[in-house]
Assembly symmetry: C2
Homo-oligomer: 309 residues x 2
């Protein structure tokens, strides 16, 4: 091709909102349960079809998310919205089930060093654990998502082989998970890598089950989305306001901001069903709760324009 | 196409550095001449082939750039580097000539309201003025660049018709300018608009003469670069550190940061001849001079990584 064909891009994209979990987990501030609940309810009101609401990890491990049961009990369960919760093990799955969770997520990584430091297992051990978690979750009729972190680079190992990503993702696909999210955890990816990884994965699983999770640490997240769209990827993770600083680079940004993603998709005529104004309202609310302005560029530009109007 | 073909992207990109002119012009701080000179010398040392160094506007109009002659006299003239200066009229061209400038730039816009407020002329009047400036500059053997601002949106009029951009750019092309830079002055473009505008322009002028000037106000600048690369555009404007806040949106960012652009192009294997470390050194220096951390995401992430190492 010599030109970007916009007609052959996916007509519709699903945004999976990461703010309440991945976002808050990586913020220094601990947010009150009531504020989280209001944040999630504002997010679901914006039209999002999938929101990762919390994590059933050991409460002492991540103090920011030690109120998983309380959050799940208090949020409005809007019809048609998938409320995801992370479940690192059988204990987590049991707690999630008791809390009425109907969609769970497991997470491993493409690099051994990261997996070891992040969840204290080898990749093989993590897959063995998740095989059981996924089997039981599916037996209960739950919807299951899996994350493959550090797919484009590892903070400890540097470059990550495409084959390593394919191996881990294929194993997860064989467990029968409904969706696999490929994560650029430290925000090093560029469009070339996205095309390579997305191309390699599509030989092993349907593109409809593949999601991409970009971090904007070096400003490349939306460029990577454009590359992924051209590989027919139509599911993207993002975080309202860009919530969630990157723990490995103080001062740098973390998750791709939902506002930035939505501004671009709206401009490209790609449907999402999500209201940008609605996401801004959620970010504005949470910004007040944590006492920090969102890092999202679209959020800032749109709020500044609104203030002048 | 169903996949992003990286082999058919331009193998080499020219970066036109905007920091010393467009950047400093839109910063609140007034920088000392010696600091500007050091900044420009650090930029040329990084391998950049084109740097917009200053502007020969009426000194009272833009106090930040009232030392054009002094800057041009003091910078190192590195062989092979084009040092551009803005020349809004014949008076400016005369001053530039006396200062030993060999490459000049003229600027108009695709929307009437912006042109009126920015340079107090209609588009037609600006073209009439520039016809003379370009003619005289070319007669003197100067290299000439032209800017078309607000090509993707106007702060006063909103959406801008593709035809309006084509009309203005075609007129400038007929004057025989060497390069035409199409500007997303307020940072509203998305890849769809980039493909439309680049496609329409290529019917009227060789793609080798077309540059794109994106602002990252809503985070879409690098995504737009990816779209433009696929349209075979191989000249991009950017500003070291992301220098130059957007005057229309306080708190929002302006020019695409050279570090972000370079990080992505390096990652895609596209040659530029520019050292990312060299640009960071220039940004670091200027950051000290203006007392503000660069907004570039790649700059921040790379500096944070260096500080940890």
């Amino acid at each position: 091709m010599s030109a970007l064909s916009l007609t052959e891009l996916p007509a519709r994209v699903k945004i999976v909102e990461m703010g309440p979990r991945d976002g808050l987990q990586n913020e220094a501030a601990v947010v009150k349960t009531a504020d989280k609940v209001r944040f999630i309810d504002l997010l679901s009101a914006s039209g999002l079809a999938a929101i990762e609401a919390t994590s059933f990890v050991r409460p002492s491990a991540i103090p920011q998310l030690d109120d998983a049961e309380a959050v799940m009990a208090a949020i409005e369960r809007r019809p048609g919205v998938t409320y995801l919760a992370l479940t690192p093990n059988m204990r987590g799955l049991d707690r999630a089930r008791s809390a009425g969770v109907r969609a769970v997520a497991v997470f491993t990584a493409a690099s051994e060093s990261f997996t070891k430091r992040n969840i204290n297992m080898t990749i093989a051990e993590s897959l063995a654990t998740f095989a059981t978690v996924v089997r039981d979750a599916r037996r209960d009729g739950m919807w299951v998502r899996a994350y493959v972190s550090t797919a484009f680079g590892c903070p400890y190992e540097g470059a990550v082989e495409v084959d390593a990503v394919v191996r881990v993702a294929s194993a997860l696909a064989e467990f029968g998970v409904d969706e696999i999210s490929i994560g650029d955890t430290i925000g090093v990816a560029t469009p070339r890598g996205v095309v390579e990884v997305a191309g390699a994965l599509q030989a092993h699983m349907p593109v409809e089950r593949l999601a991409m999770h970009f971090h904007d640490t070096r400003g490349t997240a939306l460029a990577n989305v454009v590359a992924a769209l051209q590989m027919q990827i139509s599911i993207f993770d993002s975080s309202a306001g860009g919530l969630g600083g990157c723990p490995y680079a103080p001062g740098a940004t973390g998750n791709l901001a939902t506002e930035d993603l939505l501004y671009m998709l709206d401009g490209m005529g790609i449907e999402t069903g999500v209201s940008l104004e609605g996401i801004r309202a959620a970010s504005r609310y949470l910004s007040g709760a944590i006492g920090r302005e969102p890092v999202s560029r679209a959020y800032r530009a749109l709020e500044a324009a609104a203030a002048r109007a």
